[in-house]
Amino acid sequence: MASVYGNDFGARAETSSDEPQSFLDLLAGEGRVEPRDEMPDAYRRTLVRQIAQHAHSEIIGMQPEGNWISRAPSLRRKAILMAKVQDEAGHGLYLYAAAETLGVDRADLLDQLHDGRQKYSSIFNYPTLTWADVGAIGWLVDGAAIVNQVPLCRCSYGPYARAMVRVCKEESFHQRQGFEILHTLSHGTPAQRAMAQDAVDRYWWPSLMMFGPPDDDSPNSAQSMAWGIKRFSNDDLRQRFVDMTVPQAEALGLTLPDPEIRWNEERGHYDFGEVDFTELFEVIKGHGPCNAQRMSHRVRAHEDGAWAREAASAYAQKQAQKQAEKQLVRTEGAA
């Protein structure tokens, strides 16, 4: 199935033959499917997986940028970065909540992330080696995410579409802050400029891979399109991203690491070089620079926090019991 933060989670086909008429009517009228509406099981499962993997991407995505909170080079940048990583946690929350409207539980989805049954966007398996990488992630990675996500604001499933409206607003702020970091660096000292160029060199191709495999190699897109979950093909979205980004790179005075980029008057689009997906597939299989690190960080946080979560439930139970006892005394007193 194709998905989101990137479209690069790898495919798992779901198709459906038995679709309720009310559901088909909603889709035909561009209406929104709401949690209590009838929907095919395959549609529900597809959405759960897509929304969950999107949520996982948000929370794993906290790590590469969180990596620079302690080292941000000015207090203003530190504050902005903390707020940005906090936003990503917030996006995770909206998305897990949207998935829960489909009858699943956040704790189960997290278990599936932790034991590898569900994926997250492979882009977060690349390391943030310099401060400029924080800028490149904002500009390119969040930029690509926006291109993927804006159409999701019209997704056929209401709670997901509404969550995306809010997420997209914040992402567009994130993209601007990434651009601004790179703009400051590219207009700074020679060392800062080199740092910016190096980050763009490393993040450009992985960002293009976020749109997923080429269309002729993406067998599940058709069903997602028929269901109104996906609106545009991987290649269309990738082209849209390139068209948007090339002029921005010029404004930054930075070079995109692809000698084949040039305006094609006839197509009305920028041509660009072929993406080497062998790397993406290696990263998806777990051989990226940070796959193991990201997972162990997440699992460790989850396990280290177990005692606190258990304490919170135990305390809540005790309080509920006390409340019930008080209620009982009051009722008996009245009787």
Binding site: I59, M62, Q63, G66, I69, S70, R71, A72, P73, S74, L75, R76, R77, K78, A79, M82, A83, V85, Q86, A89, G90, G92, L93, Y96, W131, I181, T184, L185, G188, T189, A191, Q192, H297, R300, A301, D304, G305, A306, W307, A308, R309, E310, A311, A312, A314, Y315, A316, K318
Partner: protein, 273 residues
């Protein structure tokens, strides 16, 4: 109960001398006082930032980021003000990134690593209870800037105190394991409480500019002890740590904190970000 802070703790004016600055210079006492408050907030924010992506649950990642951001905001305003009073043209970033360890004036409570959630909540309880009383009183400072900063910050730290109190109660009165861990965390932080109440420049207190930390002690401890009691925990009976942060004497962990925080900024002298 804790042992009261030693009355021989040197006041802030003499510390400027120790750091090679002219203690007789106008405003030196005020600069030192403001830097103390600023550094407490800055260093605490630096430690809080570690939690973002490591909290026990997603809601807590959001909450701790919020608290860290509030503290960082307080630090920035106070550092900018310290730079202004000092009059050498140092910005908030100059003060945060270009001072060496001996020039930092934060208390020990905030500077040690906190990678256990119980420790983080015990520390936040103590720190926010202290800041709540401090900013509450400082809001009536005769120094208009300090009064303004405190008036805004007191609302923020009231939320921090509320958040920490809820967790300390849940962890203290949760499971057997969490009770033991929360008590251990409180015991570990308790030696660092008395340093908060070390006296500051008496002249500033007399002028109504600074708040006398000694006077805050009963109210701060009352707040903390009420939460500790509700959490079914015991107030630790431990000896105070030596302290010395207000005089620029820190724990060994402080050097690593600054090395990490300052490295990038210092690697590019004169650059803007």
């Amino acid at each position: 109960m804790t042992t009261p802070p030693s009355s021989s703790s040197p006041p802030l004016r003499s510390s400027a001398e120790q750091l090679g600055r002219d203690p007789g210079r106008p405003g030196a006492g005020l600069t030192a006082y403001v830097l103390g408050l600023a550094d407490d907030a800055l260093v605490s924010a630096q430690r809080m930032g570690w939690w973002i992506s490591r909290a026990p649950q997603l809601e807590e990642d959001v909450a701790l980021a919020n608290i860290g951001l509030d503290q960082l905001g307080q630090a920035r305003t106070l550092l900018a003000y310290a730079g202004e009073i000092e009059g050498d043209g140092r910005s908030e970033d100059d003060l945060a990134y270009l001072r060496d360890e001996r020039e930092f004036r934060n208390v020990w409570l905030v500077e040690r690593a906190q990678t256990d959630f119980g420790v983080a909540m015990a520390r936040l309880l103590v720190f926010s209870a202290w800041q709540r009383e401090l900013y509450g009183a400082l809001a009536s400072s005769t120094d208009a800037t300090l009064a303004g900063v405190a008036g805004k910050a007191v609302k923020e730290v009231a939320y921090h105190l509320d958040h920490a109190s809820h967790w300390v109660v849940r962890l203290g009165d949760g499971t057997e394991e969490s009770h033991a861990r929360m008590q251990a965390a409180l015991d570990a932080e308790w030696p660092f409480v008395p340093e908060l109440f070390e006296p500051v420049d008496a002249a500033l207190v007399a002028e109504g500019v600074a708040v006398d930390p000694v006077a805050l002690r009963p109210a701060v401890l009352a707040r903390i002890e009420a939460v500790v009691a509700e959490a079914t925990l015991a107030v630790p009976q431990v000896a105070p740590a030596v302290g010395g942060g207000r005089r620029g004497l820190h724990t060994e962990e402080m050097g690593y904190l600054l090395a990490e925080m300052q490295h990038l900024a210092r690697s590019h002298p004169g650059a803007t970000w």
